[in-house]
């Protein structure tokens, strides 16, 4: 999983003012841990799911809304030359 972009981080923290940057760092670290735990320790992964859910509800209730705002501003395709089609 990639890190959140600066725009995404800023939007999440702006819409969730109760959260500090270090809370977001902790949330991201838990998410990485959760993805790895899912491979070897389902019980731990479930516990981390619960912890993430609780943290999201408490500190980042508007996380998805914030990210969707950023995504809505992004182009559908990466900005690179070489459009397909009939030349």
């Amino acid at each position: 999983m990639m890190a959140l972009s600066p725009e995404e981080r800023a939007a999440v923290l702006a819409l969730n003012p109760q959260a500090r940057p270090q809370d977001l760092d902790r949330f991201e670290a838990l998410l990485v841990e959760r993805l790895e735990a899912a491979e070897v320790d389902p019980a731990r992964a479930q516990a981390l799911d619960r912890e993430l859910k609780e943290m999201e509800a408490r500190l980042f209730p508007r996380l998805q809304e914030a990210l969707q705002q950023v995504w809505a501003r992004q182009p559908e395709e990466p900005e690179e030359p070489g459009e397909p089609g009939v030349a």
Binding site: E39, E56, P78, G85
Partner: protein, 903 residues
């Protein structure tokens, strides 16, 4: 006191009076020996001494010593014979009693210490060999030997292919250049200009030029060295390395005659001045990665009528080979002492044909460091020396024992028009030796064809002439041009075509039978043509701007691919403008090179599965390393419900996302996959499915993230008759767009390659029980997302993988690329880890921006400080496309891939 001798001047003008020497001794008499090569001080070689290489004062009688001192000036006749050499070596012998009854004889230098012989340097007054004042090498990277590969600073395999640009070894200053103009330097008289270098590198697409040298001129002429600098700089500016090759000692010595009666100027063995030459050049170019060193052109037993060779007669071939090996060891020491990173090319025995006696052994079972073994091959059918067939090539230089452990190189090969078929077969043989085959590198580091200027020729040459006012006829050798370009000979056409299809990466090489007559056109293959479906063209050396042309008797349609990789063009969806039914399809590069047309039948409707790239077709599809792109049918929400993935309603979005992913995997700065691109099979599947839990391959998790469920993906693939090593499950979501990956689960029952990581044993396995899986949003969030996630997915659950570096939490799985210090903010250990017998350093400053004070994590060293770690928080690194893997992770994943590709 014994005897000492000193030259009165260390440098002597060869056009001035003879050099003089002062001898100090307590003996009554003395004599002085002067020679062009101190090996001749050895009495065993007395038979090789001649007036043109050796002089002794004994011929004039004993020199009387008065008050412990004598003076000797070389006589005029000897001086005339010897003054054409760059160095003259000398020693004194002193004794008591008249000559016939010499007693208490002493030598200033024992014969066996000839390497320490003092010398005088013969050069015009004011000669000062100029230092290199600027960097000549442009953007070229340092090259080094790693196992049987040549690699660059990023550890990427490198193949060098080019030509020999002869002329500097024999063209004297003041000669006529190819346009008939008299020129003041050897380079100009040889016709070596910036335009010529550009023609070779840019138009013929060479990335190495082998430059034969004249030892004497390099040792004595300022302008010669300055012009070497210039050639090196021009070649490097165009992107080519220069291989300096000791070809001739000088233009006056003859080393016998060849079988066709021609004078042989190629010496059989190096001489003392060769040591001086390489010391000079190694010191001169110690900061220039563009300069490579070919120690000696063609070592051989002196020809029967060779009167100039100074080598003692040896009885057996083994002794000769040992003699050559001892020279190689000496030259290696001299060069590496001056220039520790010098890459050496060591010629085979017997005119460089025979590599069977190599590598060159060193004490303790070691072999020569940073050395490439080089062969020359021309068409011979002589019994015992045949080079006519692949079996012969295997015998002389292509045998596994050498090339599986050391890189080999053909520094000369070439032929006349009558040998074209042989040349085609040899070129094919060489191609096969410099491409990864099932994850194994066969050992060829490249070749340089002979020659731009001399027979057998690569380009046509003619003769120009004119009559001077005094009636004298002068002639010169011209080049024959077609417009601005040199006209290739027939064999040159073959070489040019081979260079013109030089792969961007070593693995991206195709069989020569795809070339028509060696004339530079190429064959292509393509997927089935279906409107609105993927259309992929497989070939080689596609360059930016390459287009696909469809034509029928009534219409032509040009299509610009979305993805242009050296080996693959991908049109995400074939446009409806392409006519249905039978069409001709061809590829046109921006430089005008066109493929041969292929006949296709265009269908109206897309299919479910497309094999975008077939991979290694020498084995069944099921054994090929496969990357699969799968449109996710159903998604499991955070409440546990299932819903159709909206992606299945947007086929165009799936196709474009696959195209972006391929560009990310194979077309970015990170070269992890590039060497193996031709071996990797790429398949895409887009098919509707019922909305049932079994088809839910992805699920939503916290943090707006989507997760692919590996066991369910494996079950789904099995049900559909598909298999993969890595499966990208593409999804679309308004709420959960963040992509993620899970590692591969290897099949522990399949063959393993053992490795040690910090002394703990692990294994890479040939096969996967469950593929690595990636949940990838369509479209991908960034140009690097597919590659970043693939790197996670390539790892193995229990035997090592790659973790994210932008967090500090302890990795749950064994990860090769992150460790933790004993305490937060503590010093970063210099050594990161030992992997497979090699120690890897840490990245002390985390991409240059430092580790947060609260962190315990630290990472392996970067490939280069300019390339931040691709697994870190690359949003903070400026242009994210600069990011690469660290050195340890790249090696680890390449080992893993190569093991799997070898199944």
């Amino acid at each position: 006191m014994t005897v000492r001798i000193r030259a009165e001047r260390p440098t002597v003008d060869p056009t001035g009076p003879p050099p003089a020497f002062t001898i100090r001794t307590d003996r009554q008499f003395c004599e002085v020996e002067v020679t062009c090569d101190p090996v001749l001080f050895n009495g065993a070689l007395a038979g090789r001494r001649r007036p043109e290489n050796f002089s002794t004062s004994r011929d004039e009688g004993a020199l009387a010593v008065r008050q412990g001192r004598a003076r000797y000036q070389l006589d005029e006749a000897a001086w005339r014979a010897l003054r054409r050499y760059p160095y003259l070596y000398y020693r004194a012998i002193a004794y008591d009693g008249p000559l016939p009854r010499r007693q208490r004889e002493e030598e200033s230098l024992a014969a066996h210490d000839f390497r320490q012989a003092p010398a005088i340097y013969l050069a015009p007054p004011g000669t000062r060999l100029p230092p290199v004042r600027r960097r000549l090498s442009g953007n070229l990277k340092w090259l080094r030997v790693a196992g049987n590969r040549l690699v660059d600073e990023d550890d990427d395999p490198v193949v060098l292919r080019g030509v020999n640009l002869s002329g500097m070894e024999y063209t004297d200053r003041g000669g006529l250049d190819p346009t008939g103009v008299r020129r003041p330097t050897s380079r100009e008289a040889a016709g070596i200009t910036r335009e010529l270098i550009r023609e070779i590198v840019r138009h013929w697409r060479a990335n190495i030029i082998r430059l034969p040298l004249n030892q004497e001129w390099a040792l004595t002429r300022e302008d010669y060295l300055a012009n070497l600098d210039r050639i090196i700089e021009w070649a490097a500016a165009e992107g080519a390395y220069t291989l300096l090759d000791l070809q001739w000692f000088d233009t006056h010595r003859e080393f016998g005659h060849l079988a066709d009666g021609r004078v042989n100027r190629v010496p059989p063995m190096p001489e003392e001045n060769s040591v001086r030459l390489w010391r000079l050049l190694a010191a001169r170019y110690r900061r220039e990665p563009a300069v490579l060193f070919d120690l000696f052109n063609e070592p051989h037993v002196p020809l029967a009528d060779d009167q100039a060779a100074l080598t003692p007669a040896l009885a057996t071939e083994g002794e000769w080979v040992d003699h050559w090996h001892s020279w190689v060891r000496r030259l290696e020491q001299v060069i590496h002492r001056e220039h520790g990173r010098a890459l050496l090319f060591v010629s085979g025995w017997d005119w460089a044909l025979n590599l069977r006696h190599f590598p060159v052994p060193l004490p303790g079972g070691r072999t020569l460091p940073n050395a490439v073994y080089a062969a020359h091959v021309y068409h011979h059918t002589t019994p015992g020396r045949s080079t006519a067939t692949p079996a012969d090539w295997d015998h002389w230089f292509g045998f596994p024992r050498l090339r599986e452990a050391h890189p080999i190189f053909l520094t000369e090969w070439g032929g006349e028009a009558a040998q074209l078929r042989w040349g085609l077969e040899l070129e094919q043989y060489l191609r096969d030796l410099h491409r990864f085959r099932q994850g194994v590198w066969p050992g060829l580091a490249g070749w340089t064809a002979w020659s731009w200027a001399d027979r057998p020729l690569l380009v046509e040459r003619g003769t120009g002439s004119r009559t001077l006012p005094n009636g004298t006829q002068v002639t010169w050798r011209t080049y024959i041009l077609d417009g601005p370009h040199h006209r290739p000979t027939e064999f040159g056409e073959l070489v040019k075509a081979a260079l013109g299809t030089m792969p961007a990466f070593p693995r991206l090489a195709f069989a020569l039978d795809r070339l028509r007559g060696g004339r530079g056109r190429f064959f292509i293959t393509a997927t089935p043509a279906r409107r609105e479906d993927f259309f992929a063209v497989q070939g080689h050396d596609f360059t930016p701007g390459t287009r696909v042309l469809f034509s029928t008797p009534g219409a032509t349609v040009w299509v610009a691919p979305r993805v242009i990789l050296p080996h693959l063009l991908l049109v995400p969806q074939l446009p409806a403008a392409v006519p249905l039914g039978e069409v001709l399809c061809e590829v046109v590069r921006p430089d005008g090179v066109r493929s041969d047309p292929i006949r296709l039948v265009v269908a109206a409707a897309p299919g479910d599965v497309s094999e975008i790239y077939p991979g290694d077709e020498s084995k069944p599809a099921a054994r090929r390393f496969t990357i699969l792109f799968l449109a996710n049918p159903v998604v499991e929400t955070r409440t546990g419900a299932v819903a159709a993935d909206p992606l299945l309603a947007r086929r165009d979005r799936f196709h474009r996302a696959v195209a972006e992913a391929l560009r990310s995997l194979f077309g970015r700065r990170e070269t992890l996959l590039h060497p193996y691109a031709l071996d990797i099979r790429v398949v895409a599947r887009f098919a509707p499915e019922a909305v049932v839990p079994a088809h839910a391959l992805c699920r939503q998790i916290a943090g707006a993230t989507m997760e692919a469920m590996r066991p369910r993906v494996q079950a789904y693939l099995a049900a559909k008759g598909l298999s993969a090593d890595v499966c990208f499950v593409l999804f679309h979501s308004a709420s959960h767009r963040r992509s993620s990956a899970h590692r591969t689960l290897d099949d522990a029952a399949s063959a393993g390659r053992r490795f040690l990581y910090d002394q703990v044993e692990y294994h890479h396995r040939r096969r996967a029980r469950e593929p690595g899986v990636v949940a990838l949003h369509a479209p991908p969030a960034s140009v690097l997302t597919p590659l970043h996630e693939l790197i996670h997915a390539l790892g193995e659950r229990d035997n090592g993988g790659v973790t994210d570096l932008y967090v500090d939490s302890p990795p749950v799985l064994f990860s090769v690329n992150r460790k933790r210090r004993a305490r937060a903010g503590g010093p970063v250990p210099r050594r990161f880890a030992d992997y497979d017998g090699q120690s890897y350093a840490s990245d002390p400053r985390r991409d240059g921006r430092g580790y947060p004070a609260s962190w315990r994590s630290y990472h392996p060293e970067l490939i280069h400080p300019r390339f931040p770690n691709l697994m870190d928080d690359y949003y903070y690194q400026g242009a994210m496309t600069r990011c690469r893997l660290d050195r340890l992770t790249l090696k680890f994943l390449r080992d893993r891939l190569e093991w799997k590709l070898g199944r």
